[in-house]
């Protein structure tokens, strides 16, 4: 992996001056992922969402490289079309055979776990040489914090309200990395803006495999998580240290986890209580729900440990 000095010297493909909120995890995720492409030419596709609306306010653009936005559900299909054009134009002799371009698509969790899942699955199955990155903040933040299938159990969102009979979202988060890994693609990983070294290393791998790669990057949203803008990275780290967001990868079928030091491990409640979207969970009467969330987190972690052991 490149040194931090080398990474700092990679081209700024998403430039400063964009209109994402202060502390937005998405811009950190995008910039760190693109560092993984080194000096290569990269064409960026984005699904409709915060990233797209905040970086492409016509007649301005925050992108110094070619960028395409199509719609909400179809970033993967669109990117696959761009990649197919590259192949087709190479076959036609209109692009030199040795010209290398990398293709990356970004979508939020709504655009990836939910409305864009079919498009993503199709692109992964077809084997396009592209990287799909989900910047995962666990809700439809652009439209005003509605729950998605990435929203954690118990989280408040404007469509998973907290009230007399309901305490936020009742369902668990969908395990998207396992779903994508099941496509048998060369590389799939879960990463976080809380660990830049791990994230950039995974992005490098994703850009360098021959075929599709997928990254699910935890990207806290201060507005939606009800945290301060300067807490983004700290809370992303807490997510990993509480096993809520384990960092792992599936490389050619082999599962492995980025270990957390024993001394850093904390119960999930430490992650939850740092955020306003979970504050109701700490009111009297919700003890059982907190225990249930801890049990879910432990079970998923054990599942990952098992997968890693199975594929040594």
């Amino acid at each position: 992996m490149a040194t931090i000095k080398e990474l700092a010297a990679t081209p700024d493909r998403l430039c400063s001056g964009h209109r994402l909120c202060g502390g937005c995890g998405a811009s950190i995720a995008v910039r760190q992922v693109l560092m993984g492409a080194g000096d290569s030419d990269v064409v960026v596709t984005s699904a409709t969402g915060c990233l797209e609306v905040s970086t492409t306010c016509y007649p301005y653009s925050s992108w110094s490289t070619s960028f395409v936005h199509n719609a909400f559900a179809n970033a993967a299909a669109t990117c696959s079309g761009v990649e197919a054009a590259y192949k087709g134009l190479k076959a036609a002799g209109k692009i030199p055979a040795d010209k290398e371009i990398k293709f990356v698509a970004f979508g939020g969790d709504g655009g990836t776990y939910d409305i864009g899942l079919q498009s993503l699955s199709g692109a992964m199955e077809r084997g396009h040489n592209m990287v799909y990155v989900c910047y995962d903040n666990g809700a439809y933040m652009n439209t005003g914090i509605q729950r998605s299938s990435a929203t954690p159990k118990g989280a408040w969102a404007t469509t998973s309200e907290v009230g007399e009979v309901l305490q936020g979202k009742t369902q668990k988060r969908k395990d998207l990395v396992s779903i994508i890994a099941a496509h048998g693609i060369p590389y799939a990983a879960q990463a976080s803006v809380g660990n830049w070294k791990d994230l950039v290393a995974k992005a490098e791998k994703a850009f360098n495999v021959d075929g599709p790669a997928f990254l699910d990057v935890l990207a806290p949203c201060p507005r939606g998580w009800r945290i301060e803008g300067d807490q983004t990275v700290e809370i992303a780290r807490l997510a990993t240290n509480t096993k809520f967001w384990p960092l792992f990868e599936v490389e050619n079928g082999k599962w492995s986890m980025t270990p957390v030091k024993e001394k850093d491990l904390l119960p999930v409640s430490e992650f939850l209580k740092a955020q306003g979207r979970f504050k109701h969970l700490f009111k009297p009467g919700n003890e059982a729900l907190l225990e249930e969330i801890q049990a879910d987190v432990d079970a998923y972690y054990e599942y990952l440990v098992r997968r890693c052991a199975e594929t040594v």
Partner: protein
């Protein structure tokens, strides 16, 4: 002189041949009846190494148009084909293809829209895409489907148009029936279509571009839409001129509307697509009996040839507009709405009756077409106009 091969072929086969000759860099397509034979034939061209096309077998029509949009923004020549529910499923991205000014060519096998589900011909699918900003051709025959498709690539990629083009043919009737067709040699067709030279390719990284940017408040959105309207309006003379250029090569004339017997017609049918042949047959029978019957077939539906239609219908006593789709809740069906518009400013307006016919592949018999001309005779004689009628069942 072009070399011409005469063959018995279906419309799907002829569209497949036109695609092969245009040789897109990317085709992204999804199967749907009765279009599938187009992409199946293309898959064989790919498998046999006859084309360099990157053939993307997507998982839905939404993704086929989405991948076409990505590929076209990346500077590739792009084509696809669909029908019915598939076209409806693309609706969102049809607007985006046109709004992003991407010269994608798509064949559509015209088919009914559910519910009830029905795989046979009508024009409900295309009319659902009427206002998406695409150029829309309607073919009557397999031969014309070929000619329209060849012309479509030139129209779409013309620097003063840069819009997607839909080349449509009637499901089963034209897609599947075998006809005598003429296929021009590859060299001639390739020379006519020429090479596509994109101006704003994503892959030209020396000159990075942004496609599909966010034009929210501030007027840029409305300016983009005005540019789109102008492009489609301006496409009309370009379509005519490219159609004439192709006509000079292939020997088949090109007109935005195809007129039969209209020099002195008193009663006219206005129609789209494959049923025009039956209408002309009946008009010919009536002519033998001394009735001055004529037929106007609209070949280019968007941009709509209002002036040509008004000219063709001047001097006619009564007009029957035959629609193979409906616009529920409107006073008239889609083609009739255009005819009313075309004739609104005419110094003398003929009487107009609107019929909906052949939905879901319902037979278009000579008897019901005779009934239409009989009705027109009565209408011209002052009988009350009953408004829109479902022909043959009402």
């Amino acid at each position: 002189m072009p070399k011409v091969t005469t063959l018995a072929a279906s419309g799907n086969q002829m569209v497949g041949e036109a695609f092969r000759q245009a040789e897109p860099d990317v085709i992204a397509a999804y199967p749907i009846t009765p279009q599938t034979a187009i992409v199946e034939s293309y898959a064989k061209f790919v498998a046999d190494g006859r084309v360099h096309t990157e053939f993307v077998t997507v998982e839905s029509e939404h993704s086929s148009m989405s991948a076409c949009i990505g590929a076209s923004a990346a500077g590739a020549r792009v084509a696809t084909a669909t029908s019915s529910q598939g076209l409806a499923y693309m609706w969102e991205v049809l607007h985006i293809a046109a709004g992003m000014r991407l010269p994608i060519v798509m064949a559509n096998a015209n088919r009914a829209i559910a519910a009830p589900i029905n795989i046979h011909c009508d024009h409900s699918d295309v009319m659902g895409a009427r206002d998406t900003g695409w150029v829309i051709f309607f073919a009557e025959t397999a031969q014309e489907a070929y000619d329209n498709t060849v012309i479509s690539f030139r129209v779409a990629e013309h620097p003063d148009v840069l819009l997607p083009v839909m080349t449509t043919l009637d499901g089963f009737i034209t897609t599947h029936a075998m006809e005598r067709c003429e296929l021009l040699d590859d060299e001639t067709v390739k020379a006519f279509i020429g090479e596509y030279k994109p101006k704003h390719s994503l892959l030209d990284l020396e000159n990075p571009v942004g496609h599909g940017m966010f034009a929210n408040l501030g007027g840029a959105y409305m300016q983009a839409k005005l540019a789109e309207r102008r492009a489609l309006d301006n496409a009309a003379p370009i379509i005519k001129s490219l159609g004439d250029e192709w006509a000079a090569i292939c020997g088949r004339s090109f007109d935005m509307i195809d007129c039969w017997g209209m020099e002195d017609a008193e009663y006219a049918i206005v129609i789209l697509g494959s049923a025009a042949g039956n209408a002309r047959h009946v008009a010919r029978e009536l002519r033998a009996q001394g009735v001055k019957a004529g037929v106007v077939r609209v070949r280019v539906f968007r941009p709509f040839p209002y002036a040509e239609l008004a000219e063709a219908l001047s001097g006619v006593k009564a007009v029957a507009v035959l629609d193979r789709s409906d616009s529920f809740g409107a006073q008239a069906a889609p083609l009739a709405l255009e005819v009313y518009t075309a004739l609104f400013d005419a110094p003398v307006r003929p009487a107009i009756r609107n019929y909906v016919y052949g939905l879901g592949g319902a037979d278009v018999t000579l008897e019901i077409l005779h009934q239409v001309y009989d009705d027109l005779d009565k209408l011209a004689a002052g009988e009350a106009n009953p408004g829109l009628v479902y022909l043959g069942i009402q």
